[in-house]
């Protein structure tokens, strides 16, 4: 392997790694705030790509119907729980947040259905259609079992993946899609030939990570999310609703997923069921970060991307084996580093 090949593979690895980084951020965000290993996260990305593709073709994406059904379900659940708690005055607010807000983009999509839209409008509409799905799913699926074991939450997330992928198949058909690239070709940057796609993805990843960092350190909502992640009881004691934090975390994860979906849609062939594999790779990155630390997860994801890139050159047949087994030394290393911390014991109660 000469230097040039190494450099090309490096670029490729960074590109893949940047995508995994964004995913890993979403995983860590959701897990720390809600203890959910969100196995169906990749499906949101697939939904985003498929929705964009449908809009670009001038078709009405099935996302619209999903969104409407979820919004109605969530609203019913919220209203019922408000009535049970005797806080009926919250109902108008509930209707706005859980019904009107999600249905707005759906209505917009219905109105423009069949038209070929300007590129930026389809991008905005895609984001507006995909983002609400995440918090709605949280409200409907996960909130009722928020105290269940991590295993149960994980399995429900896995089953959710099956269900969402099934819906995607119904809405978008079995064939894989790729959208028209937003940027194509290479840019000359300081004498280096950089793929335009790479620059766009890396810049987006940096912007997202910076925006998240600012959000977490400067805004009250961001601090509340971190507080929930660090100490759920502490958060409740200052009046932070862990459920609200969960919704916000899922909404943020939804934003990340929508953006990643748009970015990768021109780069990889997205099938209705691509979510699991895409999600798993992001998951590997999150594992490297121990599911706790954002910066470590980001670096870890980058490494996963690079490992994948070089492995595909040296041994394409064993590429995935190499990528997944690379978890083992990392986990062992992390464990050796952490072994002096006392293990949290969770005793069962009667």
């Amino acid at each position: 392997m000469d230097f040039q090949i190494a450099a090309i593979l490096f670029q490729d690895g960074v590109l893949t790694g940047a995508v995994y980084t964004m995913l890993a951020l979403g995983f860590v965000l959701v897990f720390t705030t809600t203890r959910i290993i969100f196995a169906s996260y990749g499906d949101l990305i697939a939904f985003s790509a498929l929705t964009l593709h449908a809009l670009q073709k001038g078709a009405l994406p099935g996302t619209v119907y999903l969104l409407m059904v979820l919004a109605v379900l969530a609203t019913v659940l919220e209203v019922v729980s408000a009535l049970k708690q005797g806080t009926a005055r919250r109902i108008p607010g509930i209707l706005v947040i859980w019904l009107v807000l999600p249905i707005l983009p759906a209505t917009a999509a219905l109105m423009v259905g069949g038209m070929i839209l300007p590129a930026w409008i389809s991008l905005v509409l895609t984001i507006a259609l995909v983002v609400p799905i995440a918090p709605l799913l949280y409200r409907i699926i996960f909130q009722p079992i928020e105290t269940a074991s991590t295993l149960t939450l994980l399995i429900v997330a896995v089953v959710l993946h099956y269900a969402i992928a099934g819906l995607a198949l119904l809405f978008f058909g079995p064939e894989g899609i790729r959208t028209a690239p937003l940027f194509r070709g290479t840019w000359d940057l300081l004498g280096f030939q950089m793929q335009a796609q790479l620059v766009v993805v890396v810049v987006t990843a940096i912007i997202l990570a910076t925006a998240l960092a600012v959000f977490f350190s400067k805004t009250m909502t961001g601090k509340a999310l971190r507080a929930t992640a660090y100490n759920r009881d502490g958060a409740r004691l200052v009046g932070i609703s862990t459920r609200a934090s969960g919704s916000v975390a899922f909404a943020l994860a939804g934003i990340i997923a929508a953006i990643v979906g748009i970015l990768v849609s021109s780069n990889i062939t997205v099938y209705y069921d691509s979510g699991l594999m895409i999600g798993l790779k992001g998951f590997v990155g999150a594992v490297v970060g121990g599911f706790i630390s954002y910066p470590v997860a980001a670096v870890g994801s980058l490494v996963v991307g690079l490992v994948e890139s070089y492995a595909s050159f040296f041994s394409s047949e064993y590429k995935e084996v190499i990528v997944f087994l690379s978890i083992i030394p990392v986990v062992l290393f992390r464990w050796l580093g952490a072994r002096h911390e006392p293990e949290e014991e969770e005793e069962e109660t009667a």
Binding site: I141, P144, I145, A148, S149, T150, L151, T152, I155, V156, V158, V159, L160, Y162, A163, A165, G166, L167, L169, L170, L276, L280, V284, V287, F291, E317, Y318, E320, V321, F324, L325, I327, I328, V331, L332, R334, W335, E343, E344, E345, E346, E347, E348, T349, A350
Partner: protein, 605 residues
């Protein structure tokens, strides 16, 4: 009246209804091939095969607290090994099974050795990696069909009869499964099963009882892998065809899903989960076209929705719902004990002197910058009750944990019976003669009092895995059940021996912990706040019990808050305040000590 003959009639009734239900169930099951179509038998065969893999996971997750994504991969290892042995080497499937079991044993041991030391979420995550990697390796096996898979696997023959039709395979699979279920049930009731139960929710109790959490988890991990392996072997030789896609991550997740839906809390969950998932999906496949809905894509959506609703309704799975209706497996009858029979303290009785049994010298513990215990020294004499008292946060429990080996001191030494045990791990202390109770009671609420106490005798019993499964441990079990019952009698709980521990009051749970410690035949009892939360009457009973134990030669070191309780009972008191030795002496001296009064009642001036 002896304790044993209190409830015999009721027990017999439960036993016979259990036998009746089990017998009818098995009879109906074995008659099924007579009136089911081949397809339905095939479906049941698959249920049986997946129930085996799920059973492994139920044991591993429900009892050992460990989750694995790799069950389908281990099924695949079993299937592929046997395929290689039969197709490439031309040997019998039985040799294939032997080779598969051996390979899975080696692989699970290796994987387990690398990863079972890991706590928390690390282990499941590594099994995910193994699952993906092993599955992908199957696709690269050129000699065994690579991604396309390979057909023509020979059927298994039993006594010359080939299990080549679903009806015949049905008996092979289900008889095997029934045996596995009974074996698993036996295992969970044996010494090893109690060790597994001790592990649930963390390894602290297990370590204190002398149980190696690592070895127990390893046993479960290997066992789960072998169960999956047998399932995979049966799968290969009844389908006659295998391909990597049958053993991919999706199927690994499916097995997890079966275990969660069935419920990881009981052996029953494996069968219920596998049955509900496979039969349920078949049902959905049948029903959807009737509703004029598109087959295929909607099936999984409908299945997903039903699954999620079920889990939301019953987060612990379906088997707990069933257990309400079905009679439980009856426990063996209580041993007979005579009215005047009492627990013997073998080791405590051996020495009849008042020499120093436990000596703490210059003990110190720091957590980061925080000094929890500082330069603490005291001696405990044989056959006495010694109290360690002090206000909340004085460092009593930390001291206790250092003595019992749960924490390592930063400096200083602990000597027990003349041997330095400062850094001896907790699980070796019980065999050396030190048994303890916990400030926050650590019992197994779903187990009977008797089984909880039997856990204390773990280190004294010898029967292993096979003895448990095959019930070769009956003589030993019977002997120690008697010991356990006597220990319960000693603390006054013998009449509730078969009650679930979770139903006891806090005071009784503390007594139960003492009984468990006594069953270990200790020389010294370490009691961490035994009187906390007890009512006045209960405290008096506890004090009387401890006095009796002292008379029987037992040495007791207790940490306590409640001076009322301590004063009339103990021989000597050490007072701790802010991790330091504040005072030491006889109870009356301590009571008069103004420094102690100040430390306790506090005050602002």
């Amino acid at each position: 009246m002896t304790i044993a003959d209190q409830e015999p009639i009721k027990m017999d009734a439960r036993a016979s209804s259990y036998m009746a239900v089990t017998g009818v169930a098995i009879a109906v099951l074995l008659a099924l091939p007579l009136f089911l179509t081949s397809f339905n038998i095939l479906l049941l065969n698959m249920v049986g095969i997946f129930a085996m893999a799920t059973l492994g996971l139920v044991l591993l997750t429900g009892s050992g607290g460990v989750t694995s994504f790799a069950q389908a991969a281990f099924m695949g290892l079993g299937a592929y090994t046997s395929a290689y042995v039969t197709l490439r080497l031309g040997l019998s499937p039985w040799l294939g099974l032997a080779a598969a079991l051996a390979l899975v044993f080696v692989v699970t041991m290796a994987i387990g050795y690398v990863t079972l030391h890991l706590g928390g979420h690390y282990l499941p995550i590594t099994t995910l990696a193994w699952a993906v990697a092993i599955h992908m390796l199957f696709g690269t096996l050129d000699g065994l069909g690579a991604h396309s898979g390979i057909g023509g696997l020979p059927p298994i023959s039993i006594a010359g009869v080939a299990m080549d039709r679903p009806e015949r395979a049905f008996y092979m699979i289900w008889v095997t499964l029934i045996l596995f279920l009974f074996a698993a049930s036996n295992l969970l009731r044996s010494r090893q099963g109690r060790a597994i139960a001790a592990l649930r929710g963390g390894s602290l109790l297990a370590e204190a009882l002398g149980i190696s959490a690592f070895r127990t988890r390893m046993m479960l991990f290997v066992l789960a892998g072998e169960l999956a392996c047998v399932g995979g072997w049966l799968f290969a030789h009844t389908q006659n065809f295998i391909s990597p896609s049958s053993f991919d991550l999706t199927n690994g997740l499916n097995i997890l899903l079966m275990s969660v839906l069935g419920g990881v809390g009981s052996v029953l969950g494996a069968l219920v989960g596998a049955g509900a998932v496979m039969v349920g999906r078949n049902l959905i496949q049948d029903v959807l076209p009737m509703l004029a809905l598109d087959a295929g894509s909607l099936e999984i959506v409908v299945f997903g929705a039903i699954f999620i609703v079920l889990v939301q309704y019953s987060p612990k799975g379906l088997s707990p719902l069933l257990s309400r209706w079905l009679p439980p497996r009856p426990a063996p009858a209580l041993p007979d004990i005579k009215h005047d029979e009492v627990l013997r303290f073998g080791r405590a009785k051996e020495h009849n002197d008042d020499a120093v049994i436990l000596s703490v010298d210059g003990l110190e513990k720091r957590f980061g910058g925080l000094v929890a215990v500082k330069d603490l020294s005291f001696d405990v004499h044989r056959g006495t009750i010694h109290a360690l008292i002090g206000p909340n946060g004085a460092g009593k429990s930390t001291t206790f944990d250092m003595i019992s080996g749960l924490q390592s001191p930063t400096s200083g030494t602990v000597q027990f019976n003349g041997t330095v045990v400062t850094h001896t791990p907790a699980r070796n202390m019980i065999a050396r003669g030190m048994a303890r109770t916990f400030q926050h009671v650590r019992i197994r609420p779903q187990m009977t009092l008797l089984d909880n106490v039997m856990q204390g005798a773990h280190w004294r019993l010898t029967s292993g895995f096979w003895a448990g499964i095959l019930r070769l441990d009956r003589a030993e079990e019977a002997a120690y059940r008697k010991t356990a019952l006597l220990a319960l009698k000693a603390v006054g709980l013998a009449d509730q021996a078969l009650v679930e521990a979770g139903t006891l009051s806090l005071g009784q749970q503390r007594q139960l912990e003492i009984a468990r410690a006594l069953a270990a035949d200790p020389e010294i009892l370490l009691l961490d706040e035994p009187a906390a939360g007890l009512r006045t009457g209960e405290k008096a009973e506890l004090a009387a019990l401890l006095s009796r134990l002292r008379e029987a030669g037992m040495t007791i070191l207790l940490v306590e808050h409640d001076m009322d309780f301590v004063m009339g009972l103990v021989d000597r008191i050490v007072v701790l305040d802010f991790g330091q030795h504040l005072a030491e002496g006889l109870p009356d001296e301590i009571r008069q000590n103004s420094k102690v009064q100040e430390a306790y009642l506090g005050g602002l001036d």
